[in-house]
């Protein structure tokens, strides 16, 4: 497999604001991501995982280092921690807006909505549907652009277990249909093991990579509780 992204963060800090001292959140981080891999970033909250995603997304440019994306005109999608839908646009419009005007893929918006189980809600406004459904819209919006790199920042938090489980299954299905490279942030160790092909653990302040493990579970094994538990113990054993 070829390398798609090379992330080098020599130093990322935040200036002192409102009584909080200046901090360095990330330091000496060097991460290469293979094309087609599903990389899960885990670590204690506040350790800089979201900051790292924002750097990769190009939203945060105030850092020392570089992000190299090896693709001609790389396209990016980002599923944020909150769905970040436009409340004044319908579900279908929210998905369609991720594509440029006149893009041929606009014709596939209804199919995409059907695939994520939102065919009925296409003309609903986001505030009138449940959080689980809003997160489905965010997934549809991300996959419609057929991104080279998909960034996901705890996309299934604050959902009840069955809903989160449904969405995980949906993500695996969408990913299977159109494989892409994923950088996924989560706290949830079980979720990490079920989804990842590789788990990168961040810890410390400033955060560094403390473990980098390849997950060797076959598709079927990811549904087996014992195998998942065993893998979880292996990945998260203290180094």
């Amino acid at each position: 497999m070829s390398e798609l992204v090379r992330i080098r963060v020599l130093r990322k800090g935040f200036p002192a604001v409102a009584g909080r001292a200046a901090t360095t959140v990330l330091e000496g981080l060097d991460l290469a991501i293979e094309a087609g891999s599903f990389v899960v970033l885990t670590g204690p909250s506040g350790c800089g995982k979201s900051t790292l995603l924002n750097i990769v997304a190009g939203l945060d440019t105030d850092y020392e280092g570089s992000v190299e994306l090896r693709a001609a005109d790389p396209s990016l999608a980002y599923v944020f921690q909150s769905p970040r839908l436009l409340p004044w646009r319908t579900v279908a419009e929210n998905v369609a807006l991720a594509l440029p005007d006149g893009d041929p893929r606009l014709a596939s918006v209804p199919d995409m909505l059907a695939r994520v189980g939102l065919a009925e809600a296409a003309s609903a406004y986001p505030e009138r549907i449940s959080l689980g459904m809003q997160r489905r819209v965010a997934l549809a919006r991300a996959f419609i652009v057929e991104p080279d790199l998909l960034l996901m920042d705890e996309p299934f938090v604050s959902l009840d277990d069955p809903t989160a489980e449904d969405l995980r299954r949906l993500l695996v299905e969408l990913w299977g249909r159109r494989p892409t490279t994923v950088l996924f942030v989560t706290h949830d160790r079980r979720e990490a093991v079920i989804l990842a092909t590789r788990i990168v653990r961040l810890a410390g302040s400033p955060a560094r990579v403390v473990a980098d493990t390849v997950i060797a579970l076959a598709g079927a094994e990811r549904g087996c509780t014992d195998r998942v538990m065993a893998e979880q113990r292996r990945v998260f054993a203290d180094p």
Partner: protein, 261 residues
Amino acid sequence: MALATRATTAQGAIGIPRLVWTLGSLAALVVVWAIVASLVSSRLFPGPAEVCHTFLREVETGSLMRHVGATLARVVVSFVLAMLIGSAIGLALGRVKSADRFFDSWLIFFLNLPALVVIILCYVWFGLTELAAITAVAINKIPNVAVTVREGARSLSRDLAEMASVYRFGWWRTLRHVTLPQLAPFFAAAARSGLALVWKIVLVVELLGRSTGVGHQLNVAFQLFDVAMILAYAITFILVVQAIEIGLLQPIDAKVNRWRR
């Protein structure tokens, strides 16, 4: 249409539509007015019939249309100008912190400048011209619009801006789908209070230095102590402004707010 939907959604406790309530209460006001006028029985307190008579006379001679039209044209031009310039200033102040810090005291100065002072100064500096009249009204309204829109610009969501940037909306689609919808309630608030303020100031401007418009007619009627004419023009203009509110502003409001829960 807006009236119809409001009437059906806003049923009173006793099941009578709101429209009926409004019409009934206005009819009662006319009745009270007629009774008081007949008791006072003075040329200086004409009843509804007399005012209606004057109204019809003014319609027949065509002077009502001419003067109301002139006033309305001034209202529209100065309102649009004030909204455009005020919004631009408000957006700039809301987005650029240093500009806000510097110009904040200017804004407070202009907010507290009495309308009459602005009108007199405009007439003194630019002469008794149409340009002076429109400028005076616009200057009175611009600070209000700027303050309201500034609040909106300050509260723009960073989350949505980031989303638009990741999905490559570009500036035009960001403006149309992300920024303007967030500002819409602030524009609506500025427009609502703007219309009410602007038409009252236009009347003063006309009274002081124009030879057409409702304000000018009120001045003429004042000099003749023609109270029926004053009331005929005042009520006509109230009705026109209400029609704009119900026929234009409320439907726009309903349309931009249809996504709310």
